[in-house]
Amino acid sequence: MITAERKPLAEIIDSIDGCRRIVLAGCNECVTVCAAGGRKEVAMLASALQMDFMKRGKTLEIHEMTLERQCDPEYVEQLAPFIDQVDAVVSMACGCGVQEVVRRFKSKRVYPAVNTKFMGASERPGVWAERCHGCGNCLLGLTGGICPIARCSKRLMNGPCGGSSKGHCEISNDVDCVWQLIWDRMKELGIEARYEDVIMAKDWSTERGGGPRKIVREDLQ
């Protein structure tokens, strides 16, 4: 999933301080799963904002909505009946959702209420960790199914640096050395010999090197 964390309240307030009416739009997909921008978080942020405005003798009218998928034009359309009545949209979706709202409603101000973080998985309740960098050319087949691009601090493709210590990355004991994980997995699978195959310099043109990316499927157009 795409993970996110809510922005500090002060930053959100700062962006909408001049507004009287807003739509606060959550998303029912990834940000709901990672408890950053679903229905529940929309309700919590709405009351926090209203309380803050009230304390300062101001009023803020909030229309709460949680769209099924904010990165999908079909669902973004549901904002249309309300958009003219508000000064701004505050989106609790990931950056993709925010920009879909912007694309549809060209003259409306839209502010993000979350910081979009990374593509990750839930390791245990309350903990999400990065798993995929979206490099556009998956090498998991070469590395025992564990990604060094996303999970090595230096995205080293050919083994652990000299800072790997007792399974930890040199930057922190809270970070696993991914090459320790890969090596353990290779041993588990009995494919240690594969470690010595040099993984060649990566073609980053499928990542950010090639500029903003797009998938075009003519069969679906």
């Binding site: 995205r155 210590s165 007792k166 040199e170 240690e192 040099v198």
Partner: protein, 307 residues
């Protein structure tokens, strides 16, 4: 012989190679580079010039290496992949070679987190293995990494690092093998304090015959004080300083600890020189270049061969 590198000539002739280290200053202070270099002159075959070591901005390795060339010394230009993409790396390699720099060391580099710019992005376009491949391809095939021909390709003597003390230990010989396969000509190891563990690693290296394919230079660092010893033991990832050495450094009074550090370093070198497959010694006397002449002389490595 692949190159004009003096370090290559010394080791190919069967002599023990000796390298030192010069960390460039954090400011436009050419005199600091020259002073450090002059302390090493005549006592080492080549001098590693570090590249933004510990992720702190310093005078570039290329620029500092130039001062060494002007002093008729031989720099080992270090290059980390943390700060440059492959275009910038190749441009600097051509530039450096054009100025007579013919020896380099390919590293990934310390993480940004350790330095004074933790907010910087890490480039890591290539890893160290891929960087070695690139420099080798430039030299032996006369081609850029991207495949186009190079006019008058740079002929670098290619170095790489190895840390026998990092984990997982059982992978460390294989990691060396990978760097050799990628095209490394010489290896400089992490500072060795735990000689027993280094011997174990070298045994694995010899079992695979890797010491015959690459010159292995054993890294040493003289400890200046018990504080420095404790710091390296406890704080530096991938360093293995045995407790006995820390205790030994703690015994003499403060003003004699530096001498104890030099004694330990010389004893270590003597042990390392007895290990089959060790082709050189890399002395990293960090901010203590003045210790190098005594270490080299007492280790029986002086005078340096004239080649």
């Amino acid at each position: 012989m692949y190159t004009e590198s003096v370090l290559e000539k010394v080791m190919r002739a069967g002599h023990i190679g000796v390298t030192g280290e010069c960390g460039p200053p954090r400011g436009a202070m050419p005199e600091v580079v020259k002073e450090k270099a002059s302390l090493l002159k005549g006592y080492v075959d080549a001098v590693n010039v570090t590249d933004n070591q510990t992720a702190m901005v310093r005078m570039s390795s290329f620029a500092a290496s130039m001062f060494l060339r002007q002093m008729d010394m031989h720099p080992v230009m270090q290059m980390v992949s943390r700060d440059r993409n492959r275009l910038a790396m190749q441009a600097d390699i051509i530039g450096a070679y054009s100025h007579g720099i013919n020896t380099m060391l390919c590293l990934s580099g310390d993480h940004m987190k350790f330095g004074d710019h933790p907010m910087a992005t890490g480039v890591f376009d290539l890893d160290s293995v891929q960087a070695i491949q690139m420099v080798r391809k430039m030299r032996d095939e006369g081609k850029f990494q991207g495949g186009a021909d190079i006019k008058n390709p740079p002929k670098m003597f290619i170095g790489a690092a190895a840390n026998p003390f990092a984990d997982p230990f059982e992978l460390r010989v294989a990691r060396l093998a990978k760097k050799v396969k990628a095209g490394a000509d010489f290896i400089q190891t992490q500072c060795i304090f735990n000689v027993d563990k280094f011997e174990l690693w070298m045994k694995g290296v010899r079992e695979r015959g890797l010491h015959k394919e690459v010159f292995i230079m054993a890294g040493v660092t003289p400890m200046k004080s018990v504080g420095a010893a404790r710091y390296m033991r406890n704080k530096v990832p991938g360093m293995d300083v045995p407790a006995e050495l820390v205790d030994r450094m703690a015994k003499p009074p403060k003003e004699k600890q530096a001498q104890e550090g030099i004694d330990i370093c010389v004893e270590t070198i003597k042990r390392l020189l007895d290990i089959e497959g060790v082709s050189g010694i890399h002395i990293m006397a960090i901010e203590w270049e003045s210790a190098v002449p005594e270490i080299v002389e007492r280790s029986g490595l002086y005078p340096r061969p004239k080649l």
